[in-house]
Amino acid sequence: MSNAIEVQELTRKFGSFTAVNAITFTVGSGEVFGFLGANGAGKTTAIRMLTGLLAPTSGEAQVAGFDVFTQAEEVKRKIGYMSQRFSLYGDLTVRENIALYGGIYGLDDGEIRERSEAMLGHLGLRDSGDDLVASLPLGWKQKLAFSVALVHQPAVVFLDEPTGGVDPVTRRQFWEMIYAAAADGTTVFVTTHYMDEAEYCDRVSIMVDGRIGAMGTPAELKAEFKVGTLDELFVRLARPAGNATVAGGGG
């Protein structure tokens, strides 16, 4: 298996509105792939299809070597997912949250114990293992949520705007964790609104109105579109789509 994600002509329509319009791309194993786009451009719909939450209208997609639509159960076991909204339980302790997701992904008690301790050590949370997650600062929560999404060592991890509302220092640390995961061979599929973060990605794609408007390494894109930063490119691509964004809504 050379590619972690292969998508061909993937399309999703809601009534007459086409949220995702025949997108095609691949993501290599161990790659950090930035999936960018304005609100309503179709990012979330695409992610929901790739994670098996949403059926496509047409097209094909393979994740971790399995067909997302015919082999959904195999795919689910191979992927990790961190949603836009905080996915841990505030009324459970740090250890209990880890045990929950470890258990759901089929780890045995020994593995859970081992990985919990390793994770707490990495995160510097060893003293807070039995604290309720609700009592942790937001930055810690997000880092913990990311680690928990990796607890079963998935082939691909989907991060949907993982750094929303997080301070710049924590964001930097968060990206260090992403690199570490990629270095361990995990493919990272990440959406973000922060263009400085997009610069950290191996490759990015920018969705505009349900299509992929641009794709490549940050350096390639800047050269191709003759812009200084991805931010400029993003604004240039997203702007003509402004009216469609308003009309389109739920992407």
Partner: protein
């Protein structure tokens, strides 16, 4: 593929949620106790102020003395003295009297001759407990009077007749307990699951669970089982409270009642899941569970208002109310000692409802994803 480990992890989480929310748990555990006691006392007519009317066709010394004794008792309050039994009817109808004591004509004469005298106590007592109590008080007063007459030879018999035709909705604790259990089970099962599941939906954790290898039915089962356990504890508490505080009789098989209660709980749980699946916020789920399960189960189940007294079309509606069937079963077991051979058809209705709601719930739950 079945993943027992995944289910176990999920259920442990659910149990932790329940145990950690101490306030809610306390309320849920004390609820059956509080409800049985409150409803039980509220629905009992107060035996301290029994309003009594006398039917005295031929007032004499004896009837006068007896009337005075009743008037002097703190338990009774004399509302009227009328000459004929027919004249007490309007008093009952207006709700002005609870009981009427009917004297035989020439009571003093009979007593002095030593011939047996009969007194008739007519009660507007659809509640047998209260009726028995009132009868005991009345007997005590009459026994006192007899002793003072020191005519031990003369037998004065009091015959108690109860009338159910007045105030039929004033049901006894006995009749009420089965309905109360249904109400508590609805609350714990339908309302709590609906809230818990819609909370996951609202917070976005459900999405993460759905991306995981857990199947929708596993998520539903994991949500539902801990509440089933809680419901079981509630049934036992309610029964114990009813027995300890009100001496509600228990004539049938406890095992059968528990099975029926769990069956009813599962129907309610499935309804709760269904409500959570079709609503998008906790608030909507709560209101939906209240309006969709609590209210109909309370009002259209025969718990408070007898089904026979409802308009025809509403009687038809009660067919789809799970509590209606459960109450028939639990009243049958508790009060009549009925066995499965009498109640299997009601049980089957509940099983069919469970299957139907469960199917709808799992389906609407899964279709939410598209």
């Amino acid at each position: 593929m079945m993943r027992p480990g995944a289910m176990r992890a999920f259920m442990v989480k659910e149990i932790r949620h329940i145990l950690r929310d101490r306030q809610t748990l306390t309320i849920l555990l004390l609820l059956p106790l509080a409800m049985v006691v409150l409803f039980g006392y509220a629905l009992r007519s107060d035996v301290k102020d029994v309003r009594i009317a006398f039917v005295d066709p031929m007032p004499d010394d004896a009837t006068g003395a007896i009337r005075n004794r009743f008037a002097g008792s703190a338990r009774f309050q004399v509302v009227d003295v009328v000459p004929t039994v027919a004249a007490v009817e309007p008093l009952f109808r207006r709700g002005a009297a609870d009981v009427a004591l009917v004297f035989e004509p020439d009571l003093a004469g009979r007593l002095s001759r030593g011939s047996p005298a009969q007194l008739l106590l007519i009660g507007d007592v659809s509640d047998p407990n209260t009726g028995t109590t009132i009868q005991a008080y009345a007997s005590a007063i009459l026994a006192d009077y007899q002793r003072d007459l020191s005519t031990a030879r003369s037998g004065m018999r009091i015959e108690m007749r109860t009338r159910m035709r007045y105030n039929p909705t004033l049901e006894s604790v006995n009749l009420f307990v089965p309905g109360l259990i249904a109400l508590v089970l609805t609350l714990v099962s339908a309302l709590m699951t609906a809230i818990s599941l819609s909370k996951e939906k609202e917070r976005g954790t459900l999405e993460v669970l759905l991306v995981s290898p857990l199947r929708p039915w596993q998520i539903i089962l994991g949500k539902v089982l801990p509440y089933l356990l809680l419901a079981f504890v509630n049934v036992v508490t309610a029964l114990l409270a009813a027995w300890a505080v009100f001496q509600v009789p228990f004539r049938g098989s406890l095992a059968l009642l528990l099975v029926a209660s769990m069956l009813y709980s599962m129907v309610s749980l499935a309804l709760g899941v269904l409500v959570a699946a079709i609503t998008t916020s906790q608030r909507a789920a709560m209101i939906g569970a209240m309006a969709g399960t609590m209210l109909p189960n309370e009002l259209l189940s025969g718990m408070i208002f007898p089904i026979a007294s409802l308009p025809d079309w509403l009687q038809w509606v009660t067919i789809v109310i799970p509590a209606r069937w459960y109450i028939v079963i639990s009243r049958g077991i508790m009060l009549k000692g009925a066995g499965i051979e009498h109640l299997w058809s009601e049980m089957l209705v509940l099983v069919a409802m469970l299957a139907g709601f469960l199917l709808l719930a799992v389906r609407s739950f899964s279709s939410r994803l598209d």
